[in-house]
């Protein structure tokens, strides 16, 4: 049994370890180790295409994580006040949203947005003052952020809801008993208490958005995110540069995930 477990872990982690190892390869072939060097990191970071893709990825990840945190928290707080079948229905829909494969979300968002854009663009052109070029809605950073926000929101709702459920209802009652308006109670009691969960949700969302390839691939339009860049350059062969990018992404992701986990644990303890 133990041997079996070791095998599973090796199978899971050896490829990752190999990528990290080869990113320090001095040679230019991905399959032969030729001494230690960090030159591929330098090369990756000075590649304008990589930096461009990184910038896009960071903007998308930050914006969609922010939107998902705000809207997700709002949804979670609202759902907390609902009981009965309506709540059960929303709960189910949220879990479904998390479990739906990325490819389905990608295609659905693409079709949805294209349809909406096709309807809206003539309308905008019609009401736009003459003599000016009317703006045209198209796939790009905006659609990327929208698509990511949608699937990340469900994640934030689940995390924040768990925290809200663990919060003593007497605390909000005490606040209202002490003359705080519902908004005042939210600002002074609820928000500070669920903030660690919101922050954890933000970090997780950031990571997921940053790493996402499938959904981005469908809705990015002409934009290139880092995962899309990596995917397209792999077609020209795996270079140590790709390994270096992969290792960096992994490092940052791991850092964010662990931070989120710590936040959730620490916050949970404090509220008891």
């Amino acid at each position: 049994m133990r041997l079996y477990a070791i095998c599973v872990y090796l199978f899971l982690y050896i490829p990752i370890g190999v990528i990290a190892l080869f990113s320090f390869n001095a040679g230019r072939h991905a399959s032969q180790l030729q001494g230690f060097s960090t030159k591929w990191y330098g090369k990756a970071l000075s590649n304008p295409f990589v930096m461009d893709a990184l910038e896009t990825s960071l903007i998308v990840a930050f914006c969609s994580a922010l939107c998902a945190s705000v809207f997700g928290t709002m949804a979670a707080v609202a759902l907390q006040g609902i009981r009965g079948p309506v709540r059960a229905a929303f709960d189910m829909l949220i879990y479904v949203a998390v479990m739906i494969p990325g490819i389905v979300i990608g295609i659905a968002t693409l079709i949805g947005l294209v349809t909406v854009f096709d309807q809206l663009n003539p309308l905008i052109a019609a009401i736009w003052p003459n003599g000016f070029e009317p703006p045209k809605l198209r796939m790009g950073i905006g659609s990327l952020i929208a698509a990511h926000t949608m699937f990340l929101m469900a994640l934030v709702v689940i995390i924040v809801r768990a925290r809200l459920a663990g919060m003593d209802r007497a605390l909000t009652e005490a606040s209202s008993d002490l003359y705080a308006t519902p908004m005042g109670t939210f600002r002074q009691v609820t928000l500070p208490m669920i903030f660690p969960a919101i922050l954890a949700g933000f970090l997780l969302s950031f990571t997921f958005s940053f790493d996402d390839f499938i959904i981005a691939f469908f809705v990015a339009g002409s934009e290139t995110t880092l995962p899309i860049y990596v995917f397209s350059s792999i077609r020209r062969g795996v270079t140590p540069e790709i390994n270096a990018i992969g290792t960096m992404v992994m490092g940052v992701s791991l850092f964010l995930l662990i931070s989120a986990q710590l936040l959730l644990q620490r916050g949970g303890k404090k509220s008891r």
């Binding site: 003593d168 209202s176 003359y179 002074q188 009691v189 404090k270």
Partner: protein
Amino acid sequence: MENRGYTGNAEPADRKPIGELRGVTKRFGEVLAASDLNLSIAEGEFLSFLGPSGCGKTTALRMLAGFEAPTEGDVLLDGEVVNTLNAHHRPVNMVFQQYALFPHMTVAQNIGYGLRQIRPRIPKAQIAERVSKALDVVRLAGFEDRKIWEMSGGQQQRVALARAIINEPKLLLLDEPMAALDRKLRKEMQIELQDLQRQLGITFVLVTHDQEEALSMSDRICIMREGRIVQIGSPQELYDRPKSRYIADFVGTSNFFNGKLTQLSDELSTVVLDNGMQVQGTVGEGLTGGQDVCISVRPEQMKLNRKGEGLQVAVHNRIFLGEHTEYLVTHETLGDFLVLAPRQAELTEGAFVVGDTATVSWEATAALILDRN
């Protein structure tokens, strides 16, 4: 009105009612949590809701606080109907069962919370001054900057108290405030609460299931059962003149013997017990001749004699309690019951030992004829 004509310092009639429940009923779906509650709370009194869990006492308190709206009837504060007025608009504060202190705030921030909500804003210096005064009152001076989790259970309760009284509420509601404290601390807090109430003159409304707590602190007790108020009165009144077996059993301990009311009279009525014995006693309200009743005699009202008139019993068990000795005695047909003998009697007449035969007697006026429920 049920709460009229009481004596002593519990007299509510000459004081202004600060809170009132008029025919208040509360349903949660199919569940009837409170049914036709009528109660007037006098300014400055210490009133307790007493009853087992699920009797509706907490629901009554929550309707006064504004967390629940009555399904029927009116809740009045200071003469105004406040049925649907939100909790944050009511001049009423509550001490919660688990205190519900805000864990992300310091002691001072917790206590000043209510004052910080008031618009136009109260100057910070003034809030700080009142917070330190409130801390003085609950004897926690200097604890301003402590975190909540650094405080012991008893200290947390004082913080919760200070957080409520700093707002000078019309009513201070206490929801089983001692439930989380150990026995010794509870005793101390009971005395402290009473002192505090006299000192501040705030009207206290306490919810508890602990009869000792209610008896020792309250001016008046409102006993509840299955959503209804069954009796309101001063502690002595409830003890001496309970309206039913339920109340006699809930307030203090008593011995009960079932029988039938055969002859009803203003002075002493007669009951034929189930074993055929005839007993006299004072009849309670609302009983009719021929009704199934029970006789209640408090253990300390019974006298244990070596010989003479009375019930022939055998001493079954003896528990020495210091100033009293508790005897469990057995009668052939009436079964086991308790007799409390004062220490003085034992010193002069000598104590009984297990196995002794004795007679038990009581004054006819000490026997109360009560409804069996």
